[in-house]
């Protein structure tokens, strides 16, 4: 696997489609996490997930509001059919605006922030206890790290040397109403993870290959891994990048066409 941005923009176009069609929110968060999710799914044995094997790798999207991105990735990796994907954010569907375990192959329902890390820690403990050699990947948002429960989980994961946990931070630096550094700064996130006893890496969160290689490298770690992926909220569409309004607003027809044109370039 080498170049990646073609795929990423293909995924973004699908995300744009389903969000526009459903007039849903959180397009900015979904765009920032695309390469991270793609790299994670590329790192695991999809067959084991399809078979729901006990030793499948577990993937949790703790920032559950980026559901549109996860659904598109599941679709791309053969874990969701087109018909289901098209039902996103419509009455009677199970594909809501936040991920739920009612969707096949999604391990855990999230949407309230700060839950995924504890659950992942529990899974990692359970797998170790059963001597199952699989990993748990959990994708968290940087804003989400304000929730104290994350740090409870990280402390425990490091204390127990849960080297089967890999935390990926979608570090898009924007919270709900502004920049995270202006609201409650995370300061040096890498240092924080290291101080808690994890092996921490920092990567370009829009370089799928770099994320993928770092995940690979971390497989031999003796400690839990944290990969801080520096991303841009709204990545790929100029007028959406770094603009918080796209945490909430669905695109109008005109905006949709403009965004589609930008994502189709090259």
């Amino acid at each position: 696997m080498k170049e990646n941005n073609d795929n990423a923009n293909l995924y973004r176009k699908k995300i744009l489609d389903i969000i526009y069609n459903a007039q849903a929110s959180h397009i900015g968060s979904s765009f920032s996490v695309v390469e991270i999710l793609s790299a994670v799914y590329r790192s695991v044995d999809i067959k084991k997930i399809q078979n729901l094997d006990n030793d499948r790798e577990r993937i949790l999207l703790s920032k559950g509001h980026a559901a549109a991105a996860l659904y598109v990735i599941l679709n791309q990796f053969g874990l969701m059919c087109n018909k289901d994907l098209e039902s996103y954010y419509t009455n009677g569907s199970v594909l809501g605006g936040h991920v739920t375990h009612n969707v096949q192959y999604i391990e855990h329902s999230t949407g309230a922030l700060g839950h995924g890390l504890s659950v992942s820690t529990g899974i990692a403990i359970g797998l170790k206890s059963k001597r199952i050699d699989s990993r748990v990947y959990v994708v968290v948002g940087d804003g989400e790290l304000h929730e104290g429960s994350n740090w409870e989980a990280l402390m425990l994961a490091a204390h127990l040397n849960l080297n089967n946990i890999c935390v990926l931070v979608d570090n898009n630096k924007l919270g709900g109403i502004g920049k995270i550094k202006d609201c409650c700064s995370l300061k040096n996130l890498l240092f924080k993870f290291e101080a808690f006893g994890l092996k921490a890496y920092e990567v370009d969160g829009h370089n799928e290959y770099e994320i993928y290689s770092t995940i690979n490298k971390s497989k031999s770690s003796k400690k839990p891994t944290a990969i801080v992926c520096n991303t841009i909220k709204g990545k790929g569409v100029s007028f959406m990048e770094n603009n918080n309004i796209w945490h909430y607003r669905p695109p109008s027809t005109e905006e949709y066409q403009k965004a589609l044109a930008e994502l189709s370039r090259e």
Partner: protein, 301 residues
């Protein structure tokens, strides 16, 4: 009560290797045997109740059946969102074990008055609530919860360890008087006070013990109350959200059109400014046996 619960858990953990005990830095003198016997299925997560419940949910994902233990006031309210989202939404068979209920720790101040826990938990779909009254009932409660693959909260008060009667079902009559139209319903620690009231009281009344207070079975309640017209719920929980409140709602739906007078003896809607032990608050809120007996005497006219 706690010892009995943990002994029972130890026995079950020997039989079933999916059982896993998590504690939030509580259980000195209670959990050491389990820790030694099952090092791969015991974990003290530290003083981190939210994390404990999240971890329990993850353990379910990996095929375990976890028990989470700490004192109730730290477990229920602190980890409420984890109980709702990570346990109940997923319908995971996590058992929450909360101790020091009611005014067991009343001397420690209002943060430790556990008089609103049932209300907090019972609003959640899927979860079962048990409030065992005696050592005997712990075994029955355990079997009921193990046989049902649901989330559960077991409310363990100091209880009445030495009550001398043999229970057959999870909920049952302790005293059945055919000469009175008064029925006392109670659970947990308060059952002992009711039995003592019955012993010292001149007036006869029946006592029904509910070790399981959620879900309530409408047929069961209908059968239980049909011979009575005055029902008194005695519990160490505030009126608005305990068993009294659950039964009130159930009574509305009874097919039986009989009219009932319905009373509660227990704490008011208040976090008490005063500190005191369980006996002090029982006296203050009319839950001592002699107070219960005189309340019933007045009802009899």
């Amino acid at each position: 009560m706690r010892n009995s619960f943990f002994n029972e858990l130890k026995n079950k953990m020997s039989e079933d290797n999916s059982l896993f005990l998590l504690v939030a830095d509580m259980g000195l003198g209670l959990v050491e045997d389990i820790q030694k016997m099952f090092p791969d299925r015991f974990l003290n997560v530290g003083i981190a109740e939210q994390n404990m419940v999240g971890v329990a949910s993850g353990l379910c994902n990996a095929g375990f059946r976890p028990f989470c233990y700490t004192i109730s006031n730290f477990l229920i309210q602190r980890a409420f969102e984890q109980i709702r989202n990570d346990v109940c939404i997923h319908n995971y068979p996590v058992t929450l074990i909360g101790t020091s209920t009611g005014y067991d720790n009343g001397l420690l101040g209002p943060t430790h008055q556990v008089i609103d826990d049932i209300g907090c938990i019972k609003i959640l779909p899927n979860i079962r609530i048990y409030s065992p009254a005696t050592i005997n009932s712990i075994k029955i409660v355990f079997d009921d919860l193990i046989n049902n693959n649901f989330p559960a909260y077991v409310r363990i008060g100091k209880g009445s360890d030495k009550l001398d009667y043999q229970e057959e079902k999870v909920n049952n009559f302790i005293v059945k008087s055919f000469k009175s139209d008064i029925l006392v319903i109670s659970h947990g620690t308060m059952l002992g006070k009711c039995i003592e009231a019955s012993r010292i009281s001149g007036s006869k009344f029946s006592i029904y013990c509910m070790n399981k207070i959620k879900p309530l079975c409408i047929n069961e309640i209908n059968d239980v109350i049909q011979d009575y017209s005055k029902i008194i719920v005695i519990e160490d929980h505030i009126t608005s959200s305990g068993l009294f409140d659950s039964l009130s709602l159930l009574l509305i739906n009874l097919v039986n059109q009989k009219k009932y007078s319905f009373y509660q003896i227990g704490p008011p809607e208040n976090y008490d400014e005063e500190i005191g032990d369980a006996n002090y608050f029982s006296k203050k809120y009319g839950c001592l046996p002699n107070k219960i007996a005189s309340f019933i005497k007045d009802l009899n006219g």
